[in-house]
Point group: C2
Chain length 200, copies 2
């Protein structure tokens, strides 16, 4: 069974987090949500059960665990996901152990998904110049260092990027296809009842 | 400022809940999530802060409060929403105070939104025969008592119904339009960055 680590912080866009996690679970991917604290890089060593992450629009979500640079290495997961939400993406993308893991996942041939302002982590992790997209609000931070695209989902080797809440379904289904194949993507999308002509 | 009461229970489809709540908040609608207990109709009298609702795909969400038949009357909200998820929709639609409130909201000219298996509440509340849609999995329970449609979103007077996770964005944006107008719908949809040709 493929597995995914999905990061979450105070200010994470709760639709982007929830759609990605839920769609991957529907595909049989074992998902773990891990809370990244804004306070320090070492919070993970003192607590194991975060109370909750405060979503960008007021929905409070209980993460499965604290982010742990030791436990959440590429040996243990097939995919690392960084959702958007300005404040949450800032916390996650500025976290140096996260930056290190982004590089390690790519180096080890594992997938990394970034959506919305989460794409800032490609910059902070120092990934090489390649095709990428993001929320339009952070385009100006990324367009010099990447080959900026306005496609809903951009797959560049192991890096998968997307734009915002409105592109999260195609983002999540693309991750399902990469991890589980196109037949599984179709099997998962069917019962989600997309309007005709979308997400196909 | 318009206001919305969004019900949640163990087994609620977390994408349907989250997309609706978040999109309404983006439109400036004051949202309250209220936990409906599967145990009894009277749980609301003994506790005020639910620990969390267990989502259908394993995401645990902290509701804002317990469902209260006394507090959550149509005088206090402009919209009542019942999300899907088979187990959550069963708990909510079988709750007799919820059934009573569905009738009261409609009678008082307030909107009621139901999505996915949440549309079963139209049946259990005894609403009159009218156009309606739902998740295909519960169509057979509804097609005799309603004018069953397969449109992504069906607006029938004050009753707004929809189909599943894949139709939740158009469902939520339709609720925004009904509560706040078409200009607000466009203002909210823009920054959500839908792929061209969808949710317009």
């Amino acid at each position: 069974m493929p597995s995914a680590l999905i990061l979450i912080a105070d200010g994470t866009e709760e639709m982007e987090f929830t759609i990605t996690y839920d769609t991957l679970v529907r595909a049989g991917v074992a998902c773990t949500s891990a809370y990244v604290s804004a306070d320090s890089d070492t919070a993970s060593t003192t607590q194991t059960t975060p109370s909750f992450a405060k979503g960008s629009r007021g929905i409070n979500i209980l993460p499965d665990t604290y982010f742990s640079p030791q436990a959440h290495v590429p040996d243990n997961f097939d995919l690392l996901v960084i959702p958007g939400g300005a404040k949450g993406a800032e916390t996650i993308s500025k976290n140096s152990p996260v930056q290190h893991l982004v590089r390690e996942y790519i180096k080890n041939g594992k997938y990394v998904g970034m959506i919305c302002a989460g794409s800032l982590a490609a910059l902070t992790a120092g990934l090489e110049k390649q095709p990428l997209t993001s929320h339009p609000s952070v385009k100006s931070h990324l367009e010099k260092d990447f080959i900026y695209s306005e496609q809903p989902v951009v797959v560049s080797g192991r890096l998968v990027t997307s734009r915002g809440p409105g592109t999260t379904f195609p983002f999540a289904l693309t991750l399902v296809e990469l991890l589980c194949g196109s037949a599984k993507r179709a099997e998962v999308a069917g019962p989600m009842v997309f309007p005709p002509g979308t997400c196909e």
